[in-house]
């Protein structure tokens, strides 16, 4: 164990404080009759949940809701605010870009976002797109990664309504308390909003694990969380349809880190404090057929990790990490004839990282993105071509630096638009992308490797979508086949001794699979509606690094071969019941596919009852009771990070629209 305790724990927890520079919120209360039904055939490259669907699920955070999209695999370490990441179609989580209200959120220290600390209360919509440009006038970096998650929130959208309010209060199992308020004031020429949120939980949930032929029952310890969020936004409508927004947010959090459950040794003393501040500014304008947007932002993240019982000579660990990120650029779109468009942009990100202890590196990175693309739209087909170029310049004030990089990546798609009686859509696309190693992977003391190359990804996809039924009963179906290849996969292997693992480009992974979706929405008599959504993803994601290795053609660790979701809502007027089920087949904790590495599959069902109380126009009061993991199943995404059993959440929310 030795040094590993230090390195592995720090490496893991370095993620935890990040990503919380996003949003908070609360559901808008008016649940309109579940309009999951699309008026068009399901899009083959993007999936969207609107506010109503998010409210029904009552997710703890963004990770839980993204898990409901087909093609995604969640990794969760459990607990409120605990680490959650998501991979899409078998690619690593660092291949996904996160956008909030048009601004990308990223963390150069870890290269990924902790979805456990992005809350969903105020989310108006969330879209996952894999292949193709998603969103309008987003930053160029939003369009060129393996996949993109884009979130729109209540606070940061222009509004002309004089006054809007969101208020919610939640009480749940394991000491969970969650209060949120947001106020929004709007006029013809401007809007402003302000919000605050407090959340806490003791996280002391009971669990059971199998210890050989016996069952061990325990209570999760050192799993508490307190966090605060606040922010304000102001926006102005200027001449010639110009729009200016200034968004400021800050949050702080303090949490225990329970770690993996270790047999016979349940001590856990590590803690993490985090503070994050964000300022976003953008200005968008229309000039004849040209739309453009200037944007800039500053992110400051501060993390303090402590382990008072770490067995070193200084009486434990107290380590501070400070990560700054400045970004800015321009994005444009020029409409052409026949609804075609020419688009592109330029963006620069500058970031640095400071370690207080245990590391002598002081890395800085200048990452510049350039993008041009063309959407050609015709009556029966559409196509999109993108070329992106990225330059990465690395500096390290205290030691060896990573090599500078210049990369050019293409994207191509061709789509046959709605045709035939069932309004078929066919789409094929190819994307070549890469992800840069994070500062931790390059520079972290004992783990980092400055020789790392970017991890390359090739993605092919061919899909078909249709809506065979319309009218009172609507049916949408979709199937996307995909084939991906990851080259120079960045993996940790022991390079100094068994306990000091370092990052190397040693892996090659092939993934073949498909994702399928079906939605059935029916309007019955007596204002009764039923909605069923199902998705299933198959991913044969295997190691092809070395044909002589015992893991050759074995399923990659923590990528289940089968994943599914089944959701059903039955609603009459404003009252109803919602079932949400998540399924995963077995996974392996290491890539050698043997019983010893097996983590059991699971099927988890949540059930919610909800009703909306009639109030004067524009006012809405909603009550929802959710029972999560109703069968009290013992399950885990990650080995020995057991998730909570049956638990309860009561949500009271009030809105003025």
């Amino acid at each position: 164990m030795r040094y590993s305790l230090l390195v592995l724990n720090l490496f893991l927890v370095c993620m935890l404080g990040y990503g919380q520079d996003t949003i908070n919120s609360l559901p808008e209360v008016s649940v309109s009759a579940l309009e999951i039904n699309r008026l068009k055939t399901l899009d083959l490259t993007s999936q969207t949940f609107n506010r109503e669907q998010i409210i029904l699920t009552q997710p703890e955070d963004l990770g839980v809701i993204i898990q409901k999209f087909s093609g995604t695999t969640l990794k969760s370490y459990g607990g409120v605010g605990g680490l959650k990441t998501v991979s899409v179609r078998g690619l690593g989580s660092q291949h996904t870009t996160f956008i909030v209200d048009g601004f990308s959120i990223s963390n150069t220290q870890t290269g990924q976002i902790n979805l456990g600390q992005i809350q969903t209360d105020n989310v108006e919509s969330i879209t996952l797109s894999v292949g193709g440009k998603n969103g309008f006038l987003l930053s160029p970096s939003s369009y060129i990664n393996g996949s993109t998650v884009s979130v729109n929130t209540f606070e940061n959208n222009f509004s002309t309504d004089p006054f809007k309010m969101r208020l919610s209060s939640k009480v749940g199992s394991f000491g969970e308390i969650d209060n949120y308020i947001s106020l929004k004031y709007g006029k013809a020429k401007m809007f402003m909003s302000v919000f605050g949120k407090y959340r806490s939980a003791n996280g002391k949930y009971p669990y059971s694990i199998q210890n050989g032929k016996t069952t061990y029952n325990g209570i999760r310890d050192n799993n508490d969380l307190v966090d605060w969020y606040s922010g304000f936004t102001v926006g102005f409508r200027l001449k010639k349809e110009g729009r200016l927004r200034v968004i400021c947010r800050t949050n702080s959090a303090d949490q225990g880190l329970p770690g993996a459950i270790i047999l016979y040794n349940t001590t856990a003393n590590q803690r993490l404090s985090a503070q994050a501040s964000v300022v976003n500014i953008d200005y968008s304008q229309t000039y004849k057929m040209l739309f453009y947007r200037l944007f800039g932002s500053y992110n400051h993240d501060w993390l303090h990790y402590t382990d008072p019982y770490f067995l070193n000579n200084t009486g434990g660990i107290s380590a501070i990490y400070t990560n700054n990120l400045y970004q800015g650029g321009i994005s444009f779109q020029r409409l052409l004839l026949n609804s075609s468009a020419f688009f592109g942009g330029l963006e620069t990100k500058y970031s640095d990282l400071t370690f207080s202890t245990l590391n002598t590196a002081a890395p800085r990175r200048l990452h510049t993105f350039g993008l041009i693309g063309l959407n050609l739209n015709r009556e029966t087909w559409k196509s999109e071509v993108q070329i992106s170029a990225q330059q990465i310049i690395e500096e390290n004030d205290q030691g060896e630096r990573a090599k500078n990089r210049l990369k050019v990546n293409p994207f191509l798609s061709l789509e046959k638009v709605e045709f035939g009686k069932w309004k078929w859509i066919l789409k094929a696309w190819y994307r070549n992308s890469f992800r840069m190693p994070s500062f931790n992977e390059l520079y972290y003391n004992g783990v980092g490797n400055t020789k790392l190359k970017p991890e390359q990804a090739h993605q092919f996809s061919l899909g078909i979508s249709a809506r065979p039924l319309e009218g009172d009963s609507k049916l949408n179906i979709l199937v996307n086949g995909f084939a991906n290849r990851v080259e120079n996969q960045i993996l940790a292997i022991p390079t100094k001794n068994l306990f000091v693992w370092s990052m190397q480009n040693i892996g090659f992974v092939n993934t073949f699979g498909f994702e399928s979706r079906m939605q059935i929405n029916t309007l019955h008599s007596n204002r009764l509606t039923t909605n069923f959504t199902m998705n299933y993803t198959y991913q044969y994601s295997v190691d092809v690094s070395d044909s002589h290795s015992p893991t050759y053609l074995n399923q990659v660790a923590y990528i289940p071969r089968h994943i599914g979701n089944f959701d059903a809502t039955i609603q009459r007027k404003k009252t109803g019941i919602h079932f949400s089920t998540t399924l995963s087949s077995l996974r392996y904790s290491l890539t050698e596919n043997i019983i010893a590495n097996k983590i059991d599959g699971f099927a988890i069902m949540d059930v919610s009852l909800f009703t909306q109380i009639k109030l004067p126009v524009k006012h809405a009061l909603r009550i929802q009771l959710s029972v999560k993991n109703i069968f009290n199943s013992s399950y885990a995404y990650m080995r020995y990070f057991v998730m909570p059993g049956r638990n309860y959440l009561i949500t009271l929310s009030y809105a003025i629209n």
């Binding site: 164990m1 030795r2 040094y3 590993s4 305790l5 230090l6 592995l8 210890n211 050989g212 032929k213 016996t214 770690g259 993996a260 459950i261 270790i262 047999l263 016979y264 040794n265 001590t267 019982y309 770490f310 067995l311 070193n312 000579n313 200084t314 003391n445 004992g446 292997i493 022991p494 390079t495 100094k496 001794n497 068994l498 306990f499 290795s549 015992p550 893991t551 399923q555 071969r561 089968h562 089920t581 399924l583 995963s584 087949s585 077995l586 904790s589 290491l590 050698e592 596919n593 043997i594 019983i595 010893a596 590495n597 599959g601 099927a603 069902m605 109703i630 069968f631 080995r639 020995y640």
Partner: protein, 352 residues
């Protein structure tokens, strides 16, 4: 609701992959003609195991400990030694000492190695008379009474003690200081076995680990350096003078006593290459620089010599994240056979 759950589970597991089995032999009620192999597993996975290997059939049972005790061994089993008809297992992250009956494998006692709410994190064990001595990463050597199986004393040493060995009525303990990296320790604590207290610290070189006593009573220590600019070395201590007499100019990661010789193993993590040299501990020179060469291993993780048949048993960790092998060689280094075992094998107890 129950029917829904059953349906979901049926749907879920339809089409799951057939898996390799990890049991090709059954652990017998009374063991003989075989070996127990401790496989330490990986950190935070609770997957330390013991494989029973039957020499007659060549089969193995990787679930030996669970089959004998109905529970799991825990996290990071770091050492296994036999003494007085018992087997002692040192489980580092779980912070336990497991004591088994050698003949049957039945559990005699699980000793929790906690100091209040702080895990002592035991690493290695040796024996002398009626006592066992256990290095604990919190800076102590714990003294275990082998009759009562209770800790009777804690002897303060240096930081993060690792290996230990007995010579000349003294205990030599390597203070690795590994948890202070890069400011590691460089000393050996010498403990008088009569007074059970530290009498001296000897500076040997950075990050000392394995400690072995040869047939002459000399104490050999591996200093692991810093894995980059400071290379590993083997150091010889005279147990009469308690002075360092020789620092040998070659890299080494392990030492195993073989009669009057030492087997010096080395795995180079940077190049993934392995080597076992034969060292004459009487003349104190390398007598065969490549007794067993790199072509025999994927990842050499340690060596064990079996005096009763004069064979060399080598641990191949197969890249550290795959189940490993014990590869058997004659004393002249000729390959004979391999046995498939668990994840990261690191020690053996033999049964004749």
């Amino acid at each position: 609701m129950q029917s829904i759950k059953i349906l979901l589970v049926i749907l879920l597991f339809a089409g799951c992959k057939r898996e390799q089995m990890c049991q090709s032999a059954t652990s017998p009620a009374v063991m003989k003609n075989g070996m127990l192999v401790l496989c330490e597993g990986l950190f935070q996975q609770n997957n330390s195991t013991i494989s029973w290997v039957d020499f007659t059939s060549g089969g193995s049972d990787d679930l030996f400990f669970t089959n004998k005790t109905s529970r799991l061994l825990g996290d990071t089993g770091n050492d296994m030694q036999e003494y007085g008809g018992k087997i002692y297992l040192v489980v580092n992250v779980s912070s336990t000492i497991e004591v088994l009956d050698k003949a049957t494998g039945a559990s005699i006692k699980q000793i929790s190695m906690m100091n209040g709410s702080i895990a002592k994190q035991p690493r290695s064990i040796v024996f002398n008379g009626s006592k066992a001595f256990i290095t604990c990463y919190d800076g102590f050597v714990d003294v275990l009474d082998t009759a009562s199986l209770s800790i009777t004393k804690r002897i303060a040493v240096g930081s993060n003690p690792e290996g230990l060995s007995v010579s000349n009525n003294k205990l030599y303990v390597s203070n690795s200081g590994g948890l202070n990296s890069p400011n590691v320790d460089s000393t050996i604590s010498v403990i008088n076995l009569s007074s059970l207290s530290e009498i001296k610290k000897i500076t040997v070189g950075k990050n000392p680990g394995k400690v072995v006593t040869d047939s002459q009573g000399d104490v050999y220590v591996i200093t692991r350096g810093n894995y980059s600019t400071i290379p590993s070395r083997m150091v010889r201590i005279n147990s009469v003078t308690d002075l360092v007499e020789t620092t040998f100019p070659f890299e080494a990661s392990g030492i195993e006593k073989m009669g009057d010789n030492l087997l010096i193993s080395n795995y180079n993590y940077a190049t993934s290459t392995s080597n076992i040299a034969l060292f004459d501990a009487v003349s104190e020179t390398i007598s065969n620089p490549s007794l067993i060469d790199n072509s025999q291993f994927t990842t050499l993780f340690g060596v064990k010599y079996r005096p009763s048949n004069s064979k060399i048993y080598c641990f191949d960790a197969m890249g550290f994240s795959n189940t490993g092998y014990v590869r058997v060689f004659s004393s002249s280094g000729v390959y004979e056979t391999s046995y498939h075992v668990g994840l990261n094998p690191n020690n053996i107890v033999f049964y004749d």
